[in-house]
Amino acid sequence: MSVTVWPVWGVLPVALAVLAFAVTAAILDSAAAPSGSRRLAATVFETARLLRQPRRSTPAPDALLWRIGTAGPLMVALLMAVVVPFGNGVLSNLNVGIVWFNAMDVLLWALWWLAGWGPNSMVALVGAYRFLAQALAYELPLMFALTAPAVAAASLDVTDVVAAQHHQWFIVQMPVATLVFLGSVVAYSVWGPMSHPVAADLAGGMLAEPTGIDRLVALAGRYALLAVGAAMAVALFLGGGSGPWFPAWAWSAFKTLLILAILVGVRRRVPVIRAEKFMTVAWTVVLPLILLQVLVVAILAARDASGVM
């Protein structure tokens, strides 16, 4: 299966695809709400409401940093999508694509914090500090979860990782890394069980103050992060576009939607975990587990390499 590198104008269709998946995530989320199918159009209504809502500000905000913070997550999702293969194509087969993805998710440390700092509001700033605590907890496991497929494929290029799975999907060999990656996507998207920084006990935390278009962009960014994270999980662990009968793009879309539905659905199944409790679990349970996972993957990769040569 050869990889097509899309031309530069491909950024527009890719951006539209990211937005389409983000909107799908929002619709799935409102469909799962307790009031059920009547809320299917809630995404449309909420978008229209936020577009019409005048921007409300706070006393002495740092408007520049605040705008950067609320628009940032969507930008990060789009920048991540540059290296995520979809079907047989990818926008850039950067030879260090996995490191690029990792660097982009680290940008969220700064951006979510700025979203909390900008409005000069107490609850927002507390939310921002909660996010940094949460980020310290998930980042190392996430880095090792990204390391595992790179070790198995002997490449930092995401398209090589997809190509290395034509015998067996990596989820078989590295179930822990798959789960940790998906958990980290939820955590950096500040979603569901990891939404402590925007939790109701803080009146919305980092998302307490943004209104109108700012709020719309911030919420869209969260859904887009989930969508791109799901697509990356498909490329890293679920064999990318491989599958019988249907074309590669259809398999990529199907698998991405499946993972996205799981990520969105987890919100109403698992309670919010406080940042400090998450920290304890992440460093005492998850980190040793993912290190063992990388060890197993490395031994398997070394055995394969010595067997071939």
Binding site: A60, D62, W113, W117
Partner: protein, 166 residues
């Protein structure tokens, strides 16, 4: 095209570096510094050192996000709501910076620059990994142990009591 981006990033790196000292908000100063580092990272990417460039961006942004916590905790005027000077020892720092610039600039003009020998390897990331994991492995292991011990002892020294002890 690459030259234009390179120059733009060079200007951005220097000007956001200057902005660190011009703005009077700790948050703005921190993230102006982050922007400066990101511009340097992009320069490295343009020099075909993709891995080093992206790692620079990754590490520096993470570092600034942690640093801003401490800056806001420790500085008198975190939000820039009250006027405050970001300078101290101005005369000394002028002398030091002008002296350093003079030494480096004359050095760069006077040094006999070496002629390039050989070609860069095809995969720079692999060459870097082999250098770190091969001949320099002992240094890396020693340095990482020392760094880790430093961090743990700094934490132990700074927290004589736990958070919930009375």
């Amino acid at each position: 095209m690459e030259l234009v981006i390179f120059l733009a990033m060079a200007v951005l790196a220097v000007s956001s570096g200057i902005a660190v000292f011009v703005v009077d908000s700790m948050a703005r100063a921190t993230f102006a510094l982050a922007v400066s580092f990101i511009a340097v990272g992009v320069e490295l990417i343009l020099l075909d050192m993709g891995y080093l460039g992206i790692i620079t961006i990754l590490m520096m942004v993470m570092e600034m996000a942690i640093m801003v916590v401490f800056m806001i905790m420790l500085m008198m005027n975190p939000g820039g709501l009250m006027p405050m000077s970001m300078f101290h020892n101005t005369r000394g720092s002028w002398l030091i910076s002008l002296g350093t610039f003079a030494v480096l600039a004359t050095g760069s003009l006077l040094i006999p620059w070496p002629v390039r020998e050989g070609e860069p390897p095809a995969d720079l990331t692999r060459a870097l990994g082999e250098a770190i994991m091969g001949s320099k492995m002992l240094v890396m292991i020693a340095v990482s142990a020392v760094l880790f011990a430093t961090m743990v002892s700094a934490l132990v020294l700074s927290t004589s009591r736990g958070r919930y002890d009375s």
